[in-house]
Symmetry: C2
Subunit: 213 residues, 2 copies
Amino acid sequence: MPRSIPSITVSRLVAYLRVLTDLELQQVDYVTSDELGAAAGVSAHQVRKDLVHAEAPGTRGRGYTVALLRRELSSLLGLTRPWNAAIIGMGRLGQALADYPYYGNSSFNVKTGFDIDPSKIGQRLTSLPVYAMDELPQRVKELELDIALLTVPVSAAQSAANSLVEAGLRGILNFTPTVLAVPPQVRVEQVDFVAGLKRLAFYLQPDVAPASG
Amino acid sequence: MPRSIPSITVSRLVAYLRVLTDLELQQVDYVTSDELGAAAGVSAHQVRKDLVHAEAPGTRGRGYTVALLRRELSSLLGLTRPWNAAIIGMGRLGQALADYPYYGNSSFNVKTGFDIDPSKIGQRLTSLPVYAMDELPQRVKELELDIALLTVPVSAAQSAANSLVEAGLRGILNFTPTVLAVPPQVRVEQVDFVAGLKRLAFYLQPDVAPASG
DNA sequence: ATATGTGAATTGATTCACAGCG
DNA sequence: CGCTGTGAATCAATTCACATAT
């Protein structure tokens, strides 16, 4: 039975998981939908509806068991197995991602970088080895890569994505401001901070009414 | 008459604007809702509904005038005036953002950085000057800063946000995986790539049905 | 002919209200 | 008594269908 959860709900589940991880660190045992909602910026109603997807029953009168719910969400979101990632494009952003400390105790292992620039290949600009793009197919198999963090220039984004798909990667975290064309079995998630700036600009205008979201 | 457009619509308008900017560069004169939708990854119906908000009538039988629609969306989104931004937290990510080339011909000017680490202050790690956090209030006024790119460690995020609000900034682009508590006149947009990775992980699981979004 | 613009229909998501359980 | 779990009701967003303009 293939599960199917709307993308917007998945986003909130990710947010709950983050809060629960914090709470567990602080050794909090129980949390109510009210508290969880406040910390994640949504209503208690919303939290309870979302948690239907998790198989972690709460205790009426008391709330949810933090440890149990955290484990359950973690499992639901596929974070109990390791995922291997590579950074495609070792420019400034790629390098920053390579040394980003907050993958933390998470299930993501950033294994390597790729670049077309010969001057970046082989060296260790960061703590990661960097390979040439045409080594992608063999390295994907060798390192069992699942996910690409795509940080190439806009002009190279689609052709890089094509290579990724061909090499067998199934998830792309796309940092370029481009809508990538990929086959349906490949999932793309967008991380576009310039688009974020533009959304901000809209809402900062004096005659625009604040709308949540 | 304060305009009010749902956040999800604003996101799509930003995407259309990007496509239109490309088309204008390629000297394309007209674009249909069909083409625009394909390039932005949404349906033609959706495009036409969204463009109700823009005052740029299309030509029946022909489509929209690229230049006109681009200008209109740009104005609607508040991108015809300059916005001044500062980077809060000059770690790796902050430095990468400081030197990011694609603000391009956009209306965002990243003026300066701030940090609490004395070793980062004053120097020019990047092309930007870096000030101490306690200079924030005066610099916000002096440089007429509008927007903060928040790239401090998670543990410092809320207190930094408080300082930003107090100093009078009204827009925060939040790179930390935290839900910031801010007064209603302050807008926060989230850029959380680890959350993006986690959403990817969910959809990469073999028993999860692909849902769009 | 062709593609926009928009009311109506549909689908989906959120909020409500309250029964049920601890 | 407090808080979860969930059907029902509301609200919002998307899709459809077609009249309308060029």
